[in-house]
Amino acid sequence: MNDINNVKKIIVDKPLKLDCGKIINNFPIAYETYGNLNKKKDNAILIFHALTGDQFVSGVNPFTKKDGWWSYAVGPDKPIDTNKYFVLCANVIGGCMGSYGPSDIDSISKKILGTSFPVITINDMVNAQYNLLDFFKIDQLFCVDGGSMGGMQVLQFVNNFPNKTKIAIPIACTASHSAQNIAFNELGRQSIMADANWVNGNYSNERLNPDKGLSVARMAAHITYLSKNGLQEKFGRKLQERDDLKFSFDADFQIESYLRHQGSVFVNRFDANSYLYITRAMDYFDLIKQHNGNLSKAFSQSKTKFFIISFTSDWLYPTSENKDIVIALNAIGADVGFVEIESDKGHDSFLLNVPEFLDTLKNYINSSYIKN
């Protein structure tokens, strides 16, 4: 199955009004599920993916043939145990793994949408995915969970649907995208748009692809996902398959070769316009402003139990920003737990094999389910 048309999808026939004002209708949401929904329907976990993620959380991704993006956390006998829980994950709208996005074909012009796709927000993504609850006839989820942009969706979900989940676990995220976050995203977007093959977003219709721009965007972003110490420890100044410097602009250093590799594999699985739209959605995310400066109001209607996790070496979504969410929840007496996990793996810690994190996640989910 490596045809995008064969992924599991629902077609949403309820009109969805986007934040930009446009109304979309009859649009696809691609999803994947793991484990079984029990009779009581009280074991469903909705996972939200990050910027470059997709619905293939666990197992083998049928397109990349690699492990799903959260294989360390999700699967049979994993921290989020699919023998016990029904895990559901959808591709966000704006994405490129089967949900409505800029690589879809316009029904009238029969051309690929490109930049005529509407600008979407985290709020739009969450509202679109909510249709999966109706589809599976799930009245209340047990848990919503996600890291990075997935965490932002967790916050937005509880804001939009206050009592549709028992527990919520936003990981390594923020309630308001910072200037630094926006700056890095803008760097990525400018890199894509500076590629001559981007042709104002119309590359697919012209049978081109802005590979160079997209791969530089990925390289730059990748640096922000790692920590200085992590990079130093893994690569240091080690040379790539050579004994000495070559006095050229080839990849002398292992870190260069690593980044180039990250960039080149990324272009095979990700659409450049999707990258523009999704980073834009992240930049527009400001749950604090949505509530006129008082984040507590986002959660004041909710009885959802929160557990917030951050990582010591994450400088992209630092502990302080995660803690702001904890503070807002404590201010209204919400049930909120919080821990900062020690890790030198940077923002990417949540995707990697960090045993303390995985154990904590498992313990929180399992102990919350018992009390359910």
Partner: protein, 198 residues
């Protein structure tokens, strides 16, 4: 210190909101949760201990009581508990005032430095006392602000903090502390347990 936990449990009324400051691995929280119908939260500085608490299904946030109590609104808990940690703070005075802002009432327990064995240790050996409840040497102890039951009694008087209940604990025996027996209790008690209100 199961006896301490039982006394604390007896001081707390049903259907109340309780915050355990410096909750450690959650032993007291678990005890109270199992024995009282209350809504209990914890705050703890050690990552490992927070993780232990999470594993037990307790709601705990990682944080420093000297900095992070500020996030809780005035009187957002019925009781705030501080069990045997007051002496470890840089500024116990400020911590007590924060406890009484966040909680309608506070329950504070202190290891009594006036206990006769400690006094005798210092008198005879001339070195800082090391005991079962205070096992560290002077150079590595987290207990930087030790006080006696009498000190705490006087402190509350000076700060105009109302002491609802003062209990002396000596092994399994507990007894009330009042103005007339304070000198004796200050000598005989291992632990002081206080219920206070501003």
């Amino acid at each position: 210190m199961k006896q301490e936990f039982k006394i604390i449990a007896n001081l707390i009324e049903k259907n109340t909101r309780v915050l355990d400051v410096g909750c450690g691995d959650g032993t007291l929280m678990e005890f109270l949760k199992n024995n009282k119908e209350i809504d209990i939260r914890g705050i703890e500085i050690s990552k490992n201990k927070v993780q232990n608490c999470i594993g037990k299904g307790l709601t705990v946030i990682e944080g420093d009581a000297e900095k992070d109590l500020i996030q809780f609104p005035d009187h957002s808990f019925d009781y705030v508990i501080l069990s045997q940690t007051l002496q470890a703070f840089l500024n116990p005075e400020q911590v007590i005032s924060e406890l009484l802002r966040v909680g309608k009432k506070a329950i504070v327990t202190i290891p009594n430095f006036g206990y006769w064995k400690l006094r005798l240790h210092l008198l005879i050996k001339g070195t800082m006392p090391v005991t079962r409840t205070l096992p560290d040497e002077w150079y590595n102890t987290p207990n930087i602000h030790m006080c006696t039951i009498k000190d705490f009694f006087n402190f509350c008087k000076d700060q105009k903090i109302h002491l609802y209940k003062s209990i002396a604990l000596q092994n399994l025996k507990s007894s009330k502390i009042n103005n007339s027996n304070i000198e004796l209790k200050n000598l005989s008690a291992v632990l002081g347990i206080f219920l206070l209100e501003k």
